[in-house]
């Protein structure tokens, strides 16, 4: 059974999803006086759809408009008087006693194309492809002829109404206006069927042609031409990838290729032009029989999936450079590229290993000799780069938000996976959810983390104070180091939490992150030095090293006393060598890992051997930072089971431990410890 507005999907892997459907009205309800609801049909982006029967026995679908009321009602209003056998009929718009708007429309009893395709993973037989596509094309052509664009064409919106193909859910339709083809702010459609120009706010009839091309490919092959692990990946493929059509027979191949042109002006200008190339008629298709074929090609007597050879998912050639360019920060990319070039040059260098070693040592020596000006220079670069990076990330995120990410949230609102996921699948799913998170929500989480970090730091400092000051006189000199500790841990934790929040949407690359962290570390070192001076703490306390074989660079040290640059260099190195984004990643294995605290302290000890700073304050500070950030950063516990159908199972039949699956990707991740 199916519905007019059945499933909004971002069905990334094309697995049959199930979803929890919590309908407002139970069987027997009569929100509209003349109609009795029998059951819920589906829940879509705009509201609930019910199967209802009128007093006289007429079967209808009632669509309760809950969201985007004006958009939906405007669209439906435009379509109320459309009459076409391949379009789901809209009867009326009614309001109930609570002034709630309902759309009364034709009840479609058959399956939708999504369900049909899910049952035919290799694609449909050619006769069925033609039957479905001719019906869809005829309906869409009529819409275009009436000056409307569907804008949400996808298999879930096409129905086999007891033999008649019908296009439904054209409530999102919008009049084509030559002067106003863009500017609409609603995010519509489903990623697999979204034309690239939708990202630019262009909603011409070409987006329907594009979606028709995708659907034709899917009818033939059972897969979509552009698929991916994440919405971003799919979108990038829509914008950059060339569809793999080698296994598609003519004339379908050339038609699909033209439909999927990136430039809308290169596509077919009308549906009839497209169907003409296919040899299909766009006149209404009334019968159960295959459509009228103009082509002289002989159709097979046996319904054989003509694209069975393409059953396996097709990987799409995406230019890695183009794909990564859209995401990476340009300076980081330049540095990576330079490093890569250097590696290539190094490998291609026609020198003996000894000569190479000599060159390497010479290079390192030159760097070491010049540390007195290189480190401050790098610190200054870091000071400018870090704010730039943060602002860039925020601006980029905000600019992406209204188009695809929110649409993703709507699209995945009602989906439940019906099987346990592997850990990597679960991580990908949650990572996608994190990508779709709104900036405001992200900012709220960050402020909560900062507050938690402040409290955690204070508690840690009090604990350290109780232990450290349990004997001896308690005066300002004795308390001052703990004050220093609080300030440094707090500032460092907040910085790391902020960066972690920016970086949580993806796994990211290590080098740019380490560079940014080095800059932050330099800043923390400068503050540490300033606080040391302000509190008049001795800079030579515990400065002795375990491995005291090297002389200290006098550009950083005055004798054994560290200068500001030494503190900056120390913290910069410390921040760069550790992957601080891991302890603040919501997908880390445990909320607080003693192992990562121990690693941080050992790293501090190692850096201290090269660039000493007062101890044990340094180690206490680093240990405190490692604890505070973990306690404060959001954490999604993979073992937690939501109360209502949120998680399907934690063990599969083979007994292998599986990761539970969140019921709805729109739900906020389950967090332990109350950090939201």
């Amino acid at each position: 059974m199916t519905a007019l507005l059945d499933k909004l999907e971002c069905n990334l892997a094309h697995h049959p999803f199930s979803k929890p459907m919590n309908f407002t009205y139970p069987t027997g309800s009569t929100p509209l006086a003349r109609y009795t609801i029998r059951r819920g049909i589906g829940i879509g982006g705009f509201g609930e759809v019910y199967f209802a029967v009128s007093e006289a026995g007429k079967e209808v679908a009632l669509k309760r408009i809950q969201r985007n009321l004006e958009v939906e009602l405007r669209g439906v209003g435009h379509c109320l008087n459309l009459k076409h056998p391949n379009l789901v009929s809209l009867y009326d718009i009614c309001r109930d006693d609570n002034d709630q708007a309902w759309v009364v429309m034709e009840y479609v009893a058959g399956q939708n194309l999504r369900e049909v395709l899910d049952l035919s993973p290799d694609g449909l037989a050619e006769s069925e492809v033609q039957r479905w596509f001719a019906g869809i094309a005829a309906g869409v052509d009529h819409l275009h002829g009436a000056g409307l664009v569907h804008r949400d064409l996808k298999p879930g919106n096409v129905f086999d109404d007891l033999g008649m193909i019908k296009v439904g859910d054209y409530g999102l339709s919008k009049f084509i206006s030559a002067s106003h083809r863009g500017g609409h702010t609603e995010s519509v459609g489903t990623f697999h069927y979204m034309a690239p120009e939708i990202g630019r706010g262009e909603y011409g009839r070409e987006i329907d042609i594009y979606a028709l091309g995708i659907m034709l490919y899917e009818l033939l092959t059972g897969t979509v031409p552009f698929d991916g692990e994440s919405c971003q990946e799919i979108i990038v493929k829509h914008m950059t990838a060339i569809p793999e059509l080698d296994g598609v027979a003519q004339p379908y191949r050339s038609v699909i290729a033209k439909c999927l042109e990136k430039d809308p002006t290169d596509r077919f200008h009308s549906v009839s032009e497209m169907t003409e190339k296919l040899g299909l008629a766009t006149s209404p298709v009334h019968t159960l029989a295959p459509p009228n074929l103009r082509s002289t090609r002989a159709s097979s007597a046996m319904p054989v999936p003509i694209m069975a050879s393409l059953a396996a998912p097709v990987s799409q050639p995406v230019s890695p450079a183009v794909a990564s360019n859209a995401i990476e920060e340009p300076f980081a990319r330049a540095v990576c590229s330079s490093v890569s070039d250097f590696k290539c040059w190094w490998r291609s260098l026609d020198r003996s290993p000894g000569a190479k070693m000599f060159l390497l040592c010479a290079g390192l020596f030159v760097l070491l000799v010049n540390t007195h000006w290189l480190l401050p220079l790098l610190s200054v670069v870091g000071i400018f780069y870090v704010p730039y990076y943060i602002v860039r990330q925020m601006v980029l995120h905000v600019s992406q938000q209204p188009t695809y990410a929110q649409a993703q949230r709507i699209a995945t609102t009602s989906h439940v996976t019906s099987r346990a996921m592997t850990r990597s699948e679960w991580r990908n799913a949650i990572r996608n959810e994190l990508k779709a998170k709104h900036s405001l929500h992200r900012a709220a989480e960050l402020s909560t983390s900062w507050i938690t970090a402040s409290f955690s730091t204070l508690v840690l400092a009090i604990c350290a104070g109780i232990i450290g000051l349990r004997s001896g006189e308690v005066d300002s000199l004795a308390i001052a180091p703990y004050g220093w500790l609080v300030v440094i841990v707090m500032i460092a934790s907040m910085s790391i939490l902020g960066l972690g929040k920016l970086w949580e949407p993806d796994e990211g690359e290590g080098l740019p992150r380490r560079l940014v962290l080095a800059g932050v570390g330099g800043g923390v070192g400068l503050i540490a030095y300033s606080m040391n001076q302000f509190l008049m703490l001795p800079l030579d306390a515990g400065i002795a090293r375990g491995i005291d074989a090297t002389t200290l660079p006098q550009s950083l040290y005055k004798g054994d006393i560290p200068r500001a640059s030494a503190m900056m260099a120390h913290f910069a190195v410390l921040f760069a060598i550790l992957r601080w984004w891991k302890p603040v990643d919501p997908l880390r294995r445990t909320r607080l890992s003693p192992w990562s605290v121990a690693v941080a302290v050992v790293a501090e000890w190692a850096v201290h051997q090269v660039l000493p700073i007062p101890q044990p304050l340094g180690m206490l500070a680093v240990g405190g930072i490692a604890i505070a950030v973990q306690l404060s950063a959001p954490w999604i516990n993979p073992r937690l089971k939501p109360a209502h159908n949120g998680v399907i199972t934690s063990t599969d039949h083979s007994g292998t431990s599986r990761i539970p699956v969140l019921a709805s990707t729109s739900h906020q991740p389950q967090r332990a410890g109350g950090v939201s």
């Binding site: 459907m21 919590n22 309908f23 069987t27 029998r38 059951r39 026995g57 109404d161 007891l162 008649m164």
Partner: protein, 216 residues
């Protein structure tokens, strides 16, 4: 007076019937008993105050005779007996015209509609009747379940009520004059009551009594 004569005169005891409306899945007419008449729309099927959708147990909006024949269950096998051989003929004739119904077989009724009989699970004696497009059952249901004591509900093809939204199979059991549902490997029973919404996993469904004395 024969059983069929009783039926034609309206004296046949009413067959217990329920309608199960499953959100996101469909509407199902569940009919108890071991013998069901099948036919086209009766005169009173939509009339005001009509308590039954038709004079027959299974009514189809099609160009079928008012009573096209009878489906009988004998243990776990089902037989189709066309009209004319059932009411007036002798036992030998009935036996000769009787036809065994097998899984996914179209019930041989002359007319435009094609009704398919299926018995999805060998573990349950319940069977399912469905119609090929463009025909519909009366009563706005999508399928008819010829119910025995148990009905399988779930996402797999062996379920009489196939609902892809469910995560696992449930067994509907008729016991002590009520329908109850139980998940496999669970001892917890969920009881259905007339007209009240019940949730299995996250799928809501409502069981309505069409004709079943003593159902709560």
């Amino acid at each position: 007076m024969t059983e069929n004569q009783e039926h034609s005169m309206g004296h046949r005891p009413p067959t217990p019937r329920w309608r199960l409306w499953v959100d996101g899945c469909g509407g199902f007419l569940i009919i108890g008993g071991d013998k069901w008449t099948v036919g086209g729309p009766g005169a009173s099927h939509n009339g005001p105050g009509a308590k039954r959708d038709s004079a027959t147990d299974v009514s189809v909006q099609a160009d079928w005779p008012r009573e096209a024949g009878t489906i009988r269950r004998n243990s776990d096998v089902f037989f189709w007996t066309p009209l004319g051989t059932d009411a007036e003929s002798h036992a030998e004739e009935q036996s000769a015209s009787r036809m065994l119904l097998t899984n996914n077989q179209t019930v041989p009724i002359a007319g435009s509609a094609s009704m398919v009989f299926s018995k999805p699970s060998p573990l349950s004696h319940s069977a399912v009747l469905s119609l090929k497009p463009p025909h519909r059952f009366l009563g706005h249901v999508d399928k008819v379940i010829l119910a025995e004591n148990t009905i399988l509900v779930g996402p797999t093809p062996d379920c009489a009520i196939r609902c892809l939204e469910l995560d696992q199979k449930w067994t509907l059991v008729w016991s002590q004059n009520r329908w109850m549902a139980k998940r496999r490997e669970s001892s917890e029973w969920i009881e259905f009551s007339n007209g009240n919404r019940t949730e299995l996993d996250s799928v809501a469904m409502t069981l309505e009594v069409a004709c079943a004395p003593d159902f709560p």
